[in-house]
């Protein structure tokens, strides 16, 4: 019985190659503002892929693609905090829960469980997301969550602790389309 179950699972994951949606223009906005200093940055070239058969998805972005209002902040972000020459990418490996039918247009309040890799550190995460299955078959995923810099070994020195928030707000908008 268990063998059959395992085989079935294997079969499922192999079969799954058909239903994949991708995104090359996922927007990510990060905000580490404090009362003293406005610190926010955007990028709109994160990539993502969603397998609707297995509810699994992966997103990845290049740290150096973030654009800040202040060029010096961008330099410090890359040089002092993210060490982006050493750790150029951030990755989210996700399992999406809460969607009952990927083919019927609807909006779901769902969740993501998975692993986020930032600054070379892998951490289990659980994030609330809003998932919209659009009429054209594409899927829009929006999410707002917080990242604690200390969890990923990103040190904020005492000298600037009043200027840089230790909990960074992240907003993601990703529309994944079929090939």
């Amino acid at each position: 019985m268990k063998k059959i179950f395992a085989l079935a699972a294997l079969g499922l994951s192999l079969m799954a190659s058909a239903q994949k949606l991708t995104s090359k223009d996922t927007q990510v906005h990060i905000n580490a503002s404090t009362p003293v200093e406005d610190i926010d940055a955007v990028l709109n070239n994160a990539v993502g892929i969603l397998n609707t058969e297995t509810n699994e998805a992966v997103w990845q972005l290049q740290i150096q693609s973030f654009t800040f209002k202040r060029a010096l902040m961008q330099e410090h972000f890359n040089e002092n905090y993210m060490e982006s020459t050493k750790f150029p990418k951030a990755t989210l490996r996700a399992k999406i829960g809460g969607v009952t039918d990927w083919n019927k247009p609807a909006t779901y309040k769902g969740g993501i469980k998975g692993q986020m890799e930032i600054h070379g550190v892998n951490k289990d995460v659980s994030i609330p997301v809003t998932i919209t299955v659009n009429k054209d078959g594409s899927v829009s995923i929006e999410s707002e969550f917080s990242v604690r810099t200390a969890d990923y070994g990103i040190e904020i020195p005492r000298l600037v602790v009043s200027k840089v928030a230790e909990v960074v707000k992240v907003t993601v908008k990703s529309t994944l389309k079929g090939a």
Partner: protein, 296 residues
């Protein structure tokens, strides 16, 4: 029970593989990694007196105040290690585009006004498509105008007050900690002390930094000269860069007290051997005048 756990583990590891497969597909989808340009080769656009290949980003202006105190060997206790007397230089520069920096400065030494331009010709890079450069190359030109009265009793042309410095700065960020810069230098003086002195002076500038921590770096700069003026010495400065968010503080000890280019490069009267040393600091602050278009 144990079998169930095993089955669950097998399943969850399958899931993990599937995600790694997805990741591989994702990488196949966007195969070319973007070209990475070297950033923060140095913390400041100046190291001590000399310029570096760094400049503020596009649409960003930068204000620098430089202080050089009195000589350490001039009654150090009475003058509190030179703190009682200081020369000062202000500078403001602006980057209309990422590769061009223009600025104005004024030093109290010889009451010198200056204007300067920096043009980035090559940016150190790695990865991505196309050719990569192991070095950054920046052209630097400045002009100075001294406004103290002449005391030699002769009539002078206005142009006698002008001097020019040109540098081809070639820098490389060798690794996270070490950056070096070499700068072939040409200084032209419209007026030189002696008829036998050359108006065009060649030099070779060397600068380096070693990062002690993420926000602190040791720096040094010097200038070898081909035909030094009589009574002048090779400038040598050793400094410490401290970075605090929007500011860079640079503390240093140097034998070159003048901050205007031709003067510190070619006309440094004091020497390390005689203890003619000066403490000093630079403080910089950047101002974003035009936001990047992604955030407008």
């Amino acid at each position: 029970m144990r079998k169930q756990v095993l089955a669950f583990l097998a399943l969850s590891s399958l899931g993990l593989w599937a995600q790694d497969d997805l990741l591989a597909e994702l990488n196949a989808m966007a195969p070319e990694a973007p070209k990475q340009f070297a950033f923060a080769t140095f913390k400041g656009t100046k190291l001590v007196n000399g310029s570096t290949v760094e400049m503020p980003g596009a649409g960003v202006g930068q204000f620098i105040v430089g202080h050089r105190f009195g000589a350490l060997n001039d009654k150090p206790l009475y003058n509190l290690f030179g703190m009682d007397v200081a020369q000062i230089r202000f500078e403001y520069s602006y980057n209309p585009v990422a590769w061009l920096n223009v600025g104005l400065g004024r030093s109290s030494g010889s009451k010198t006004y200056d204007g300067f331009t920096k043009v980035r010709l090559l940016h150190q890079s790695k990865g991505g498509k196309g050719l990569n450069s192991p070095v950054s190359v920046v052209w630097y030109s400045s002009m100075t105008l001294t406004t103290v009265p002449f005391t030699d009793g002769f009539d002078h042309f206005f142009t006698d007050r002008l001097a020019y410095a040109h540098q081809l700065m070639v820098a490389s960020k060798l690794n996270d900690k070490v950056s070096v810069q070499v700068a072939p230098t040409l200084v032209h003086f419209n007026l030189v002390p002696l008829a036998s002195d050359r108006n065009d002076q060649l030099g070779l500038g060397f600068s380096g930094r070693y990062k002690l921590t993420q926000r602190m770096a040791l720096t040094a700069e010097t200038m070898f000269r081909q035909t030094p003026f009589a009574g002048t010495h090779m400038p040598l400065s050793i400094g410490l860069d401290l970075e605090t968010g929007g500011h860079v503080f640079q503390f240093h000890v140097t034998n070159a007290r003048s901050m205007a280019d031709p003067q510190w490069m070619m006309q440094t009267p004091g020497s390390w051997a005689n203890g003619d040393l000066f403490l000093g600091f630079n403080i910089s602050r950047v101002f974003t005048h035009v936001k990047p278009k992604e955030l407008r």
